[in-house]
Symmetry: C2
């Protein structure tokens, strides 16, 4: 039953308060990269005035984000949950802040020195929480609590804090403490555990065949640890777990959210869905029905409903028809408001940051942390510097047009260029380099002459050549070695790719791996392979002139 006074508007606002909509971190509409998913400013302003209670932001630099969060608060006129997927430091998503190595790097450190890794994870969280707050965010959608026990996992992989439950739990909990000590909320995800899937819930609904016993042994412990340490929120997974609920994915399952998470694990904080627009949900349920089902199942907040207005109306109708109780929605509202109060009550400097926050980049201790993490997680092998050269700097990446780690001047480009190496990018969007021959997949004459420095930016499951769909890189390593042309190997990202490829290397080939892909990791890694620091170019090299010509057209 609705309130006695003005019930339609009150209920409408209550429903709206439980939604988290998405917008770009860029200020202006034309700057949006994904207008299909990112509300325009008119719609955003209208929804915030309708009472929508949270916004997830993506895109833009730190300075822009700081203005953006202030703008959103002004439009809402009430405290908002402002969140972002900043799992690897705020700089992962917003240029100008700290970009840290992915969490799995710390799991590797944990194997050697658990106390050090736990302290690093806490500092990692503190850095992320502090910078988030400085830019106006109050909710970090991390840590990933999934145990990455399946190296083929296309969507979790290096985002996890461990490959075993104890490591993942200890580090994720330390990260939570770091974030929340800064007065920012953390979010353990993706409940009840997304680590053991080989399919991608962005595209389809993965199935987890495990029973309760196995969940208790592997998937649940990190969530238990995060909850024990006081994590403010838990995000649900778009997974089917037939042993618990044969009919509904976890996000929409009362057995999972209310039964398992709320009652059995005793979690009293905010339960938020993963993005409802994702194909595993959006493809199966109506855009508004999914929001109602999630709340029915026990979620407090609905992330990225496909149609926010439709979701509000469906929730209102579900209350009217008795599918949802007003008491339940009010309880969710109370959890949301308690979480917001916690942001200002918890430690840290709770005063709003000035617009000039981070205006000279990360603070020195955070810069030091970023460098320490890169150095401690870097692995190299082989003897001395890359021999021969100049030759071909062959770089594999996902998409050269949207590649935040390879701006002009990035070390992976600039250091080899300064030594005379020619860049050749392979990203599946250029002319094919593939022969169709699985044993000699590259057509070498399409790349140019000379030794090859192979730099692979790989995370998740990107091990597919365009020609045949199979992983071409082990064969490429063998092919280049057989031709006497492999001068060096750099792998940025996946430890599994590194381990597979390093095992194939001639021991004389210098090679290194960094879990990080950002400029800092590139510079450190290439330093190990004998490429000088930036600026060490010889006076007659072409690279700076080319940069100047691109850059300075007057």
């Amino acid at each position: 039953m609705a309130d006695r006074f003005d019930p339609p508007q009150v209920l409408d606002r209550l429903a709206a308060e439980l939604l988290v909509v998405r917008c770009s971190g860029h200020l202006a509409d034309p700057q949006r990269r994904y207008p299909r998913w990112e509300l325009d400013n008119a719609a955003l302003q209208r929804l915030l005035q309708r009472g929508v209670g949270g916004v997830i932001l993506l895109g833009g630099c730190a300075a822009e984000l700081r203005q953006r969060t202030r703008q959103l608060e002004a439009w809402a006129g009430a405290p908002l949950l402002l969140c972002a997927d900043v799992e690897e430091g705020v700089g992962q998503r917003f240029e100008g802040a700290s970009w840290l190595v992915p969490p799995l790097a710390l799991a590797r450190i944990h194997a050697e020195d658990p106390a050090l890794a736990i302290d690093l994870a806490r500092r990692y969280g503190a850095c992320t929480g502090r910078e988030a707050r400085q830019l106006g965010l109050n909710w970090v959608l991390a840590p990933v609590c999934d145990v990455n026990n399946n190296p083929a996992n296309p969507v979790i992989n290096v985002r996890a804090w461990g490959e075993d439950p104890a490591t993942a739990g200890a580090l994720a909990a330390a990260f939570c403490r770091g974030v929340q000590a800064e007065g920012v909320l953390a979010c353990a995800k993706h409940f009840p555990g997304h680590g053991d899937t080989a399919s991608d819930s962005h595209l389809e609904l993965p199935l987890i065949p495990h029973g309760r016993e196995r969940l208790e042994a592997v998937e649940l412990p990190p969530f238990r640890e995060a909850i024990a340490t006081g994590v403010a929120a838990v995000m649900t997974a778009h997974l089917l777990l037939p042993a618990i609920d044969a009919d509904h994915p976890a996000t929409l399952s009362r057995a999972v959210l209310t039964g398992l998470l709320r009652q059995q694990l005793g979690f009293e904080g905010l339960i938020v869905t993963d993005a409802l627009v994702m194909e595993a949900i959006a493809g199966r349920y109506g855009p508004s029905e999914a929001a109602v089902l999630a709340l029915e199942a026990g979620a407090d907040l609905v992330l990225m409903p496909e149609d926010a207005d439709g979701a509000i109306e469906a929730i209102v109708a579900a209350v009217a028809s008795g599918r949802l109780s007003l008491e339940q929605l009010r309880a969710s509202q109370q959890r949301r408001r308690r979480a917001l109060e916690r942001c200002s009550a918890d430690g840290g400097d709770s005063a709003p940051a000035p617009l000039g926050a981070l205006s000279n980049g990360p603070a020195p201790p955070d810069q030091a942390l970023a460098l320490e993490l890169v150095r401690r997680s870097l692995v190299s092998r082989g003897r001395g510097p890359v021999p021969g050269g100049p030759g071909v700097n062959l770089i594999r990446l996902d998409n050269s047009l949207a590649c935040p780690f390879l701006p002009a001047g990035a070390p992976a480009l600039a250091l080899p260029a300064a030594a005379g190496w020619r860049t050749c990018l392979i990203d599946g969007q250029g002319p094919s380099p593939w022969s169709g021959d699985g044993e000699a997949p590259l057509v070498l004459e399409r790349l140019g002459d000379g030794p090859v420095l192979l730099q692979l930016f790989v995370r998740g499951n990107p091990f597919r050549g365009r020609a045949d769909g199979a992983d071409p890189w082990p064969a490429v390593i063998r092919q280049l070695q057989a031709a006497g042309r492999l001068a060096g190997l750099a792998v940025y990202g996946s430890p599994y790719a590194w381990e597979t490829l390093a095992a194939l290397l001639d021991p004389r080939v210098p090679a290194a791996w960094s879990p990080g892909q950002m400029a800092l990791a590139q510079g450190e890694l290439l330093g190990r392979l004998g490429f000088g620091p930036q600026g060490g170019a010889t006076p007659d090299d072409d690279a700076p002139r080319a940069a100047l010509a691109v850059d300075f057209t007057d």
Copy 2:
């Protein structure tokens, strides 16, 4: 002679005031794209405190630039000249502001309707001046007054306001009036005229063989018009004009700067050099000597000296040795100060803009101007929509890693993708698509099957295939037509490229040209070729899913 009181410091500050140094528009040091050319914040702050009087900025978005200019003013503690190469709207360099079609587009309009073109040029200037001021800039390094009478010019080309002196002069002067009515300084460049060169002064020193009579007929009129309309500054060219000065390039020539510009053309405003780091100067003179030579020749301000401290010291020493007179430096100082006063005295709203300027992008009239310019300058031919398909969306661009006009979701990518076309990028940094056969330059099987939509982003003189150095695109057009695979042609940028290629087309092939390369131009042009508006993707296409996967990794 120096002052009686504390002469060394006074002279040091006077010398410093005449320099314009370069920094990134990004706030934080690690965000710099060209650290070799862009001062770090510590050096910048120190130089501003030493008295450096101007800064040229490049890079960063509008929101970041607004903070950056405020930061620089705070460091300097005195009024600064803050400038940028925003020749084609502030959005050309700083995302979030207006990005307009290049000036040569208006020259084409001028041929049909001079009054309309002149009014558009004035509005173009007003838009640029207003947005510059809103972001804290007070000096627009435009208009280009060079007459682009040489289609092979690699460096001016579409940046010019005309291919004949009358058009260039009328439009450049109208642009100046628009900029300066907003309380922002304009800058006519590159004196005495850079239009008739086929070499690039970024790389070498071009030679202009013309005598005075020809200069009066072609090169000088646009500068005379800009001066007559009150342009605040003139920038020098790095060109050798043996008929005037056989020994020194214009930038360092007393005959050109003092004789021709100051005395004969009667220009009383600021004379600023082009960037002294450019190879035509940097490669020939010592880094500090060039600054002294420029001032000796009659320049008031020195742009981007290779070593600002060295330049200050060299200027101080030149005064001590009598090479430079203190009176001359003081006259330059006065011109600089008068220009700064003019910024606040001239029309427009002279109050400093708030940090949230442009926070919802360009104002509606400026958006309308940008669209009007795109529509009026768009040329299309052939019949109806692109037939066949889906096939290969073959895109030629300079550098996929630094391509501001092709972010994720750019129409040139998204519209064909939504209709099922596969993107294939050719930028000289991927595996070679070239056969080495001049008559059939592309190896078609490296691109994939089906009809080809050819989209060329070309400006200046980029008509070089990697394989042979000759212009491959006319042969590519013939090759694709012979194979029955040319479905459509889009040219963004150079009218010369368009005219050359359009002449080769089968009249049935739909084709279009826009002088602009930005998203707005892409959408309008592809609309003419039958590709629907963004968001018109069929529900089962792959593009939005792929975008989601890239974008939304949780």
